[in-house]
């Protein structure tokens, strides 16, 4: 027996069908909107990454016979990597660089800046601008600017400054190369840390601080017991972003030291460049790049678990 045209059952069915059509249309629209980004992601991120993995199993080179007739060599590049002292050196240098500049330098100074600039101090906007300025300079330009500060022995700007205070100048990039690139990268990254941590600080309600003050808490107690714990998700997020992006730093350090002297500042990114575009061994360079990618992935997964965030 057919239901009458306006029966509740038919109305529900009509509504349900209309909703499905509407949902499908919305899904299609969303897909269309996402399509350009997906296409770019596929073309410039996914495909190159997959191609690198493929390359890492070949002996492809930029010149020589292997440029014309590359061969599949299996895991030979990875076996070579395990026995390559320069690769392990690059990993160690990168680890120290990440810990020194991102984890310690940028975070500590960024947090101090974020806390300080929340207060009503004179010239607050000026200080904010000064902290943000390093980000305005492109990496390579910043690198060359710091070369004038640090290279040239007694002629270097830093040497002239320390001489004024009675300290013996040095060839800073030769004598303290790793420390210098850590300082330069810290300088460059404080702004990002400050911005993210300021956002984190602004999520903490003032009432909690007021209550703590009424209970007689000191500023340092409030910082340790309120600010840091409540900011932990932001801090972990910052650590994730800065660690992964610092592993990939290339232009700044290459402009400064080219990975020297003697590999003292040869980050894994510079090592990949040197293998691929100086020694022209694309296959081996790709293998190192794949390993660096895996390390970044493991780091990322570790941080995400620590944040207990569902991705």
């Amino acid at each position: 027996m057919l239901a009458s045209p306006n029966s509740p059952f038919e109305r529900v069915t009509e509504l349900s069908m209309a909703r499905n059509v509407h949902e499908r249309r919305t899904e299609r629209q969303l897909l269309l909107i996402l399509l350009p980004s997906l296409a770019l992601l596929l073309a410039f991120v996914i495909y190159p990454a997959l191609y690198s993995v493929y390359l890492s199993f070949t002996n492809e080179a930029l010149t020589g016979a292997a440029a014309l007739r590359p061969r599949f060599v299996g895991i030979r590049n990875y076996a070579r990597l395990l026995n390559d002292a320069k690769f392990w050196n690059a990993l160690l240098v990168t680890f120290l660089f990440v810990v020194g500049s991102a984890v310690i330098g940028q975070f500590v100074l960024g947090l101090i800046s974020a806390v300080a600039l929340r207060r009503r101090i004179h010239f607050r906007r000026l200080f904010s601008s000064i902290i943000l300025l390093p980000n305005a300079a492109p990496e390579v330009v910043a690198g060359f600017m710091w070369i004038s500060m640090l290279a040239g022995g007694e002629q270097a700007t830093l040497s002239r400054i320390v001489s004024f205070f009675g300290v013996t100048p040095a060839d800073w990039l030769q004598v303290f190369p790793l420390s210098m690139i850590i300082i330069v990268n810290t300088w460059r990254g404080i702004a990002t840390a400050m911005i993210l941590l300021t956002a984190g600080l602004s999520t903490i309600p003032n009432e909690i601080y007021e209550a703590a003050r009424m209970d007689g808490a000191t500023p340092s107690q409030m910082f340790r017991r309120i600010t840091l714990p409540l900011m932990m998700p932001t801090i972990l997020l910052y650590m994730l972003i800065s660690a992964v992006s610092t592993i990939a730093v290339f232009g700044l350090v290459y402009a400064l030291t080219r990975g020297g002297p003697g590999g003292a500042t040869e980050l894994v990114s510079i090592y990949i460049y040197n293998q691929s575009f100086t020694a022209f061994q694309l296959g081996y360079g790709a293998a190192v790049a794949v390993v660096a990618l895996l390390i970044s992935l493991v780091l990322g997964i570790g941080y995400v678990r620590a944040m207990k965030v569902e991705v």
Binding site: L62, G64, A67, A151, Q174, R258, G260, P261, G262, Y284
Partner: protein, 430 residues
């Protein structure tokens, strides 16, 4: 609708006509402003003679970065039609990679070829017997020393006759003047210079004067290689050459552009270009009366003999995948002209490969280069082979370890051999 279609058809027709009317374009890669300036009149000549447009593309210096960019573009298939190759060591590998078009027939048929020095003709022939480059300029390398510094200290300026005499002279310079006695480019930062301007000087006069055997294998385990590294070790350990600047970026700047003009470095290997580019009229820190104040020694052999080392200086080649190979070949012959050679010699200081340059009025004005040009008749060279680019990089790494006092001569040889084997495979090394 009709108007739109007609308008579209007219636009297509117009663009087709304009394409046909537009002259063919050939792209030439050049390296450094001096090279571009030197090529200006040649480019105009090519454009006029063949009715083409020449697009000169400047590539970044230094040599290492230029070569990287060039090889990347060759690998990607979008390199220029014509380009110079910054180091002879790269030529054999580029031939093997299929990047270069052979020009044997054209060069031999060209009337300028007969006038080239034999050493230029020999250097241009690749291991497969074909010619892929126009050897229009030679880099003649010797040891350049400060006559005035030595004369003032009462040190002999006689030609050293062996490696021992050379090292003893360097030690005497250090003892009597406080200046560094002798520089051989070394280390990774110097790029191919560690091999081109240093190591190979010693190898040609050593117990194993070639690095390639009859089968085309790289002979790197010979005694000559170890002895050559030992010369570096003695210079470094006895503080006879500056080391710190060689570990930083642009390592040639402090020793060659600052120390040598200031007399704090008394001798260094260099090429004829140094009289013009490093210390002469094109220099930012010239030495006054450079030809009187700076003398030359040929590199002595290990136990005697004298060697005038010749390289091809930035030879020109044609992209094998060029859309205009035949046109590029014609342009290549124009680049080989005496006028272009003299123009380069004036701006960069390399030596024309053509004997006819000696009669050129403009070249005769380059008095610092005229005697060196004549010496090219007796030039010697290291036979090139595939893998030489890797050998050059291996030498850079081995000498870097010596600079950092991390190894001895035998250890440096091992670093070289291991690097070449790792990169090219065990079968590449004898």
């Amino acid at each position: 609708m009709k108007k739109t279609v007609i308008g579209g058809l007219c636009a297509i027709l117009l663009s087709a006509v304009s394409t046909l009317a537009h002259a063919e374009t050939i792209r030439i890669a050049n390296h450094g402003q001096s090279g571009i300036d030197a090529m200006k009149s040649t480019v105009e000549k090519i454009e006029k003679k063949y009715g083409v447009t020449v697009e000169v593309v400047e590539y970044p210096a230094p040599d290492k970065d230029y070569l990287t960019k060039l090889l990347t573009e060759l690998g990607a298939g979008n390199a220029p039609d014509l380009f110079s190759i910054p180091t002879t060591a790269a030529v054999a590998d580029m031939v093997e990679a299929g990047y270069l078009a052979p020009v044997t027939k054209e060069i031999k048929a060209w009337d300028g070829y007969a006038k080239f020095y034999d050493v230029a003709k020999q250097l241009a022939v690749s291991p497969d017997g074909e010619t892929y480059v126009m050897p229009f300029m030679l880099g003649i390398q010797e040891i350049y020393y400060r006559k005035d510094v030595l004369d003032k200290a009462g040190i002999s300026t006689e030609q050293p006759k062996s490696w021992k005499e050379l090292l003893d002279r360097a030690a005497e310079i250090k003892k009597k003047t406080g200046a560094y006695g002798l520089l051989f480019p070394a280390g990774v930062s110097w790029g191919s210079g560690a091999f081109d301007e240093g190591f190979q000087h010693l190898i040609v006069g050593s117990k194993t004067p070639q690095l390639v055997d009859a089968d085309g294998k790289l002979d790197l385990n010979g005694e000559g290689v170890k002895d050559a590294f030992d010369v570096y070790k003695q210079l470094i350990d006895n503080d006879l050459m500056p080391t710190q600047p060689l570990l930083g970026p642009e390592p040639w700047v402090v020793p060659k552009y600052q120390m040598f003009p200031a007399g704090k470095l008394a001798a260094t290997t260099c090429g004829s270009w140094c009289y013009i580019f490093d210390w002469g009229r094109e220099s930012k820190n010239p030495i006054p009366d450079v030809t009187k104040v700076v003398g030359t020694w040929t590199v002595p052999g290990q136990s005697g003999g004298q060697y005038v080392l010749a390289n091809l200086a930035a030879p020109w080649a044609i992209n094998a995948k060029s859309a205009n190979v035949e046109l590029a070949k014609k342009a290549l012959m124009e680049i080989g002209s005496v006028e272009t050679q003299v123009s380069y010699a004036a701006r960069i200081g390399n030596i024309p490969s053509s004997k006819d340059a000696a009669q050129n009025a403009d070249f005769q004005k380059l008095t610092e280069l005229v005697p060196i040009h004549a010496a090219a008749e007796n030039g010697t060279f290291l036979k090139q082979a595939s893998g030489f680019g890797t050998v050059a990089e291996g030498v850079a790494r081995a000498t870097e370890a010596l600079l950092r006092k991390e190894t001895d001569a035998a250890g440096a040889q091992k670093i070289l051999v291991d690097y070449v084997k790792e990169t090219l495979g065990d079968e590449a090394v004898k």
